[in-house]
């Protein structure tokens, strides 16, 4: 059995005994085989000493058990790494950022506590997956949609806390942005409820997120200030219809007015679906395609689509082609020809498609994502496209490393996420090249004023370091908060670049 770093056998054994008492011996895992399950399946250090490993895992089933686990960890100075379901693949999975931490596995807290069809919200525990919530909503016959990411097996809470997004309409596809109320266990074991939930016997915890006074929920996003044990989410009332059009142009420079129109339509909430931007390839194909989905009542959708068409076709040379209008609920036949996540239906199809191509029928499987955010303007997009093209060969050391991208995602209003995917396999030499390439992209992007919204555990310090305005003032503020709410530094050390005082580098 491995020990957490800087923890004595006496302290570790005392903590394990306390956890076995409070959670049950069968839910405290110390064998090598069990601990190995928490490895990062897509680790860029696969098979190398730097691969992050847990020392043990403990799986409470209730709020009270979480409190007991955290209190014992705090008493004995044991580093904990809370996970929801641990399926944050491509961004670290269930492996702790600080190797040797004990994984606090919340998968057993898997209750859907409430779903309201009338006010369209849900209250769930961390172990509830998108599949679970979809199943609950479907069986209950509620007329609401969930917003699953690709893939749909992850935790609703975990995805939101990591800054994940989905594929239906705004604002629901911004998963943290559409949450309403949290329950959090602090490092000392105390329970806090945010927003209206701070009112005893609260009647509007999942109705109003702001409550009274400073709003603290953001402190728990991509953070290590507490363990989130409940979270509310707004759900989307099932729209009558969904209609997508494809806007295309054969000229590269047309992306500038095209994105201006798209921004106008999105910011005015005329276009509410998750738009997709594709750069064309080959001399005869369009330079740009934008898919423009609209959700809502059919007659409203038709009016919005007409308005969108008027705006887009005012750009000379731009084509606007409406696709099939889908009525919901989808028929089984319709389900077979749509991308299910656009209709709130979770699935795992991404694993059978990701990175696959005629030239690469069996891709490496693992990948890590480089996800810088740039302003949503045509000029920025063209600049990023040139930046990628100009630097790819140099960053890759003149080799074809199989780097895929950029994919331009529109998770949030007003910005683009320019996703580049790095394949990870079992070849250590190739993985090392991939890591060097990843680091180069981070530095090169930062020189342009671009930075990532999310990063694999192995690169979180690197990315946090690029948010360095005024001598890293933001990092220092976060460290001040960390020291105040978790003075012994037991929770998720190093997560998103925030380290406790005793592990902080000078």
């Amino acid at each position: 059995m491995a020990l957490p770093p800087n923890v004595s056998p006496t302290d570790f054994n005392a903590a394990l005994a306390a956890w076995r008492h409070s959670v049950g011996a069968e839910w405290v895992f110390t064998s090598d085989a069990d601990i190995a399950l928490y490895r990062d399946a897509y680790s860029p250090f696969f098979g190398e000493p730097e691969d992050r490993m847990a020392s043990a895992a403990v799986a409470p089933a209730t709020l009270e058990q979480v409190q007991a686990v955290v209190r014992a960890a705090n008493q004995h100075g044991i580093p904990l790494y809370p996970i929801s379901t641990g399926r944050n693949l491509a961004y670290g999975g269930s492996a702790p950022v600080y190797s040797g931490s004990v994984v606090l596995d919340l998968k057993r807290m898997n209750r859907v506590l409430e779903v309201s069809g009338r006010n369209a919200y849900a209250l769930v525990e961390p172990g509830v997956s998108y599949f679970d919530l979809y199943d609950h909503v479907t069986k209950a016959g509620l007329d609401v949609w969930i917003d699953p990411p690709d893939p749909g097996w992850g935790s609703v809470i975990g995805n939101a806390l990591d800054g994940g997004g989905g594929w239906t309409a705004a604002p629901f596809r911004d998963h943290f942005g559409s949450h309403c109320g949290m329950e959090v266990v602090l490092a000392n074991g105390e329970v806090v409820r945010t927003g209206m939930g701070a009112v005893p016997n609260a009647k509007s915890w999942q109705h109003n997120r702001w409550g009274f006074g400073p709003w603290v929920d953001g402190l728990f996003r991509q953070s290590n200030f507490g363990v989130v044990t409940k979270m509310g989410f707004y759900l989307m009332p099932r729209p009558e219809a969904m209609w997508t059009a494809t806007v295309s142009s054969g000229r590269d420079e047309d992306i500038v007015p095209m994105l201006d129109v798209l921004n106008l339509l999105e910011n005015a909430h005329v276009v509410n679906g998750s738009t997709q931007i594709f750069g064309g390839f080959g001399a005869n194909s369009a330079a740009w395609n934008i898919q423009v989905p609209i959700y809502g009542p059919e007659e409203v959708v038709r009016a919005q689509m007409n308005y969108a068409k008027t705006k887009f076709t005012a750009i000379t040379g731009v084509k606007f082609v409406e696709g099939e209008l889908f009525h919901t609920p989808l028929s089984p036949e319709a389900q077979a020809r749509v991308r299910l996540v656009n209709f709130g239906i979770p699935n795992l199809s991404t694993f059978s498609m990701l990175g696959r191509s005629p030239g690469n029928p069996e891709p490496d499987g693992g990948h890590i994502g480089f996800s810088p955010i740039v302003p949503r303007t045509g000029e920025s997009l063209l600049e990023f496209k040139k930046f990628y093209r100009d630097n790819l060969a140099t960053v890759s050391g003149g080799e074809n490393l199989g780097i895929v991208g950029p994919v331009y995602m529109t998770n949030w209003d007003r910005t683009l996420v320019c996703l580049i995917m790095f394949p990870i396999g079992r070849d250590k030499v190739r993985n090392a090249k991939m890591r060097r390439a990843f680091e180069s992209w981070v530095h090169l992007a930062a020189e342009r004023g671009w930075a990532e919204y999310r990063a694999p555990a192995a690169f979180q310090d690197l990315v946090a370091g690029t948010y360095s305005y005024n001598d890293h003032a933001l990092t220092r503020l976060r460290e001040t908060i960390k020291d105040a709410v978790d003075p012994r530094g037991i929770l998720s050390a190093g997560r998103y670049g925030v380290w406790p005082k005793h592990l902080r580098k000078a």
Partner: protein, 208 residues
Amino acid sequence: MLDCAKKGNAVINRREFLEAAAISALPAMTRAAQGAPSVQIRASVAALHSVVVDSRHAEARSLGAGLAAQGANVVALADGDVTQLWLRTIGPAWRSQSVPIGGLTTRSSLFCLEQLSLGHGLRVVFHAEHIVHSEGRTEHRVLRGADAAGLCARSLGLAGSLWPTRIAEVLAHPGRFAGRERQGLSDAALSPTLPPGATLLTSWIIAA
């Protein structure tokens, strides 16, 4: 990983020879079994809740047909996506009992099913990779469960194009893996480096 080549023994041993001979005889036996499968084989195959095959690959179709003839519940994946299999068949089954499953699929299908199995106390107990090269040769690696399966890369190689039959025989006896030391995650998440034009297939058993 049990790999005959690592024994430093370049010469086929008696057991491997006998295995290869037995495999050569298997097609006829399988055809005979289609009419009246023996009670013993049926009972073993029934121990697997489902046999999952990726129907895009001839080797997997062959394995599935053989096991179906022996009474196995064979499920074909048309595109490698396990979602419906999980939602309609495997997930409901595992919620009531941690039943074993096996298959011959792509690596990504195994990866998904392995991840989904962990919460039900199941593990990958047998895992072999089969790299089908563009010229038709197949290279094998038995990554997990070789001893219990009585199988190694060399014996699979000796089976030539009949290697799926050898894997079918392993899948038909999941009980061999009971009581063995439990291991962590398999390597299904990541692929070995493949030569151009090669395809990677994976055979596996997930069991308690």
